[in-house]
Symmetry: D5
């Protein structure tokens, strides 16, 4: 069994029962709905108690429940051809250099983690057309200055001007 | 003169004067600092009054000021090789399908605009290591059901379950 | 069941019954025939009443009907190798920069939406060989100048010369 | 001298004089403004009388005038990274198969020419936001059934159902 | 049923019966053998009377016969890895610019059609080793100068020196 | 000096003098005009007596004359973006498998040489629009059955059915 | 049946019987073992008497025997990811320009054939570690100077210094 | 001034003075020599006191010293064509899945940081040929289970079997 | 049977039995666990006695045991989309040039072998978060100066400054 | 100074003096001519005494002589577009799997080194057309079975059947 086959099975069941994602994440709970959907789509791992609940909800076998608990081989073909996902890709492509400048200006040399990060989605009512409101927060990880001698900080930091 | 040459000139001046991006965006003002930095890096247009202020700050010629006011050919080679920008790309690649599921669950068929959107960056102090806090908001654009006959809504919307 | 499998089934039925696309879109109706064909080929969503009519026409199961009502993962491999589709790709490749110049000259900084747009196809009789006449109309979406201070318009617009 | 250098020179002059594309195409005239801008951007040929007028307007040398009259090596790197041009690319990618179905349904086996085609752009006022209205018309070119024996038409055509 | 499956079935039958392509095209006839083989390999459409003959020859079902009459999604992955096909690709790659120069010198701005063209293959006996003799003929399609004003020809043509 | 620089210089001179390719190949002569233009565009070698004539015609230095006599690093970026050259690429992509079938049917296992081949271009007048007539002839090169034991031919050949 | 399926079947039988390639090529014989293995892996054609012997050895059906006698669509995805094959690719990539210089210095303008060439592999005992000894020989094919006038050789050759 | 130009200048000086990298990193000191070389090659930032020492060593201007202190746009074209670097790439390509399995087995869901990591190189004498000994150490970063409810750990961890 | 199918079967059994990789490599033993996992994932060969033990553990057929003993076609699609594997890829991409400089400085012209190398993984406890500690050692292979005349060393070596 | 600039300078001098590669390698000597040409084309390092001779021959500066002694960043864009080099690439692509099978059959699991290998080119007179005779020899490098326990060989070897 490959992970795609489990995803396909889960989507078949979701379709037959007429469930929305909201309904499913409400049933499983425990962590952010982005993580739960990500796991059901084959991009994230569900920890054991949640994999158990997902298995109960979808009527999965024990092996399938264990597969939901495995770390998948993540990622998908890029560039994304789907317009909704492409818009996020475009934001990174067009604005990436400016984001880099701003973050390094504030934090020094390093990155914002794509592992220790969270994200929330909300509807923001607006008379000109509702908006998607996104909140993200990712740990800043400074580059390590390994082999540092005395007087040199071990981690990248924002140097005084 | 190509836009890259203007960007290179601006970065040379920034370096010689020892300015931070914060300093520069503070001097020019008017709109989000992401937009100003984006324009100085060749990805955005600065409207006339701001291009004038940028030209004064950097001592640019009139033609260079006008170039800042032009809409550039946007984008950069992908996938990004720089680790900071790659992390955002990875977020889209790994989480894109889950974001798509969530947004379509809430809003129906459409996209979140990459044109009519805004973004803010903040430092979020955290004892385990400070975090980068990002706030985004983009207009939801429903797919148009053109050629709609009576009783069919003209725009994508969230259908009743 | 994957969306491609549903598309393949629909094409098999269409072939067996000897139906043209005109016949099919005439039976389903409700919105533009481009949208209906797009949905049957797996690129668009059919809203519920139309998915019901399509399911009745093709004798689909309830799960298949629901799949037609889902938003698919859109897009196909590019560049297109099929000559008919490649010609449209070539138009964009050769003329894109000129279109960009013209639209920005008239509307300012922004894009023409690929979401809120419609398209019609017609035969244009011509003694030298009939022509394909296409009418398109897409909403202009100005770039947002977020973080705008007083006196700066919030949206991209055509600045006075 | 390469064509890009001539394009860069023309854009420098346009910027220094503060001309819009409308102004330039108004001065040169003779054919569609899409063709004139395309030629000045290095994608099209200007026929001799128009190349002469363009040379006069921009103060070009005789060799530069002749270069405008040459057929360039057309095309640009794809996929387009600029959002405005990408939207057209996305339309082809998402809708190409449906357009192919519709055109072949109506005309039989062949293509719509990307050579013998014209295009017009107009502003379509709309209270919900103005729209870009595009009119295209391209000659339909049927596939040739070469080596046709008696009773077989030499060109692709719409066969009777 | 996908077109590749039909192609595979046809090749299986061809192999089992020990038929050469010559034999098959001789049985079906009507148009050039390149077109018939192209259709059986899934790249061309066979018009109805020929699809009927092909179906009789291979013992195909009515749905398979109809599929042969459909316009396929043309093209194959490039660059070609097969040496025989690669040699043609190399000819275009190495000689393309010279061919372009020669054709434009003779005909003006335009293309040689890949739709309205024919091709023949012959053995050319030669004491140093036989040669493949190819004859091609394609319609020249001049670029259209749409929006032409008086005195400007509507189509690309060879201007007087 | 790189070969592209020599090509650019030659094109500059051609443009300044207002020469057609016909005129140039008429002056140099000796071999097919496709080869001469190919050499001037940097894809072919001109043998010494012809390089001398080309150098005299364009007023080149001795080093430039020698460069024309060198074998260049051949080829250009693919796929071709220029419509005229793309049409040839498309012919190979769409028809390659059929050509392969036909040539192997007639000649057995091998290729048509892209090295020992010639090509001619002619205008073919036609009331429906003139055509480009192309004649090609390439040596057939059978695969070598090396290590052949007695009774096995050393070279690929057309086996008896 | 696709050629990959036949290859998979042959490898399954080889594995079940515990045969080495040496054993198999010894049984089939007739031509170089590289050619026999190439054919069994789906890259080469086996001529009829050898296909018959291979079919007998592996217990293949008549259709499978005929498929071994067919010219396959050659080639595999590149760059090769397998380290053993990559090393050969690297040799070409790093040394290609030097090989080109040496061969053209000795033979003039042309190529070494990849069709009419042979190759042998041997173990070369060496106290520092045995070596793979490879012997290759390929026909030199001079470029054709087609359209040659009197006094110009028809084929590329090494011109006198 | 672009970063590549500074790298080129530094390599020119290194060559003229006949310095080894060992000598240079010995003069600058402060952090690992990998980081110093990385910065001089344009892939890392040198903190201010080290940039000052590097500038003194190479006789750089103040602007060049500041550029060494900037975070560069990191990365290079991939796959690497240089054999030495390719071998590391191959290790990742061939062994990546096994490393992933081992690390996740030991640590749970997460990654080994490429930012907070260090690396050392040493010569390991060996009678069969010396070896390159590499020591690496990277922080393990567990995936964040954001939105965690009570009883669910906030970070990825190794779950009990 | 293809190697991926064997891998899929092994992973299915591992999942059903609830085994960790540690458990499996403990049962098979003999060589590094990286090699064993690599073989089970289809990237390495298991020598006969270990293939026998793996077959006993997983209950494989004799043919499957032999397949484990075969050298697979190694490698996977790159760039890796999985974040854990990507981080290693990024290390090579960002640091490759510096590693090359350091190794060549110490050893002269050559590479570190990706064939004769070993690797170990360990957990390194750390109060700021545990680290992955990696130890690698690869044989240095100097470039061969073949055709060396007297006084020239046959192998690349570190020349005296 | 970049390595390409040195290569261009060397080729300019070679052209002006009318030297063949044979002449140049005869003057420098010391190692195989493939290595010398490779170094002059920027793909190999020349050891000090040979770099000195090359510098004397071409009249290079001391810095240029040192650059010839540096290990370059090797490799070139792939796939090769030049027909001569492409033929070698095609040999690897079409025959790679068979070579892999043969080498592993004879030597066991490992590779043939692309570092410790040599190559010679010779003209092989042949009445049907002269041939290029190539002799190669590369060290076989067995995969290392690191972490080997007693009774398991440390290096890949050919296991008894």
């Amino acid at each position: 069994m490959r992970r795609e086959e489990l995803t396909e099975k889960i989507l078949d069941i979701k379709r037959e029962r007429g469930w929305s994602w909201k309904h499913i994440t409400g049933e499983i709970g425990g962590v952010s709905e982005v993580l739960i959907i990500g796991a059901l789509l084959g991009q994230m791992k569900l920890i054991k108690p949640l994999a158990k609940k997902a298995a109960a909800l979808f009527g999965l076998s024990e092996a399938e429940e264990r597969m939901l608990n495995e770390v998948p081989y993540r990622g998908m073909p890029m560039p994304p051809t789907d317009p909704l996902i492409y818009r996020f890709y475009e934001m990174v492509m067009v604005n990436g250099p400016a984001w880099k400048a701003l973050i390094e200006d504030e934090f020094g040399d390093g990155i914002m983690s794509a592992i220790d990060f969270d994200i929330t989605f909300e509807r923001e009512p607006n008379p000109k057309g509702d908006r998607v409101k996104i909140g993200m927060s990712g740990k800043f990880l400074p580059y390590r200055y390994y082999g540092s001698e005395q007087g040199i900080p071990e981690y990248g930091y924002k140097e005084p001007e």
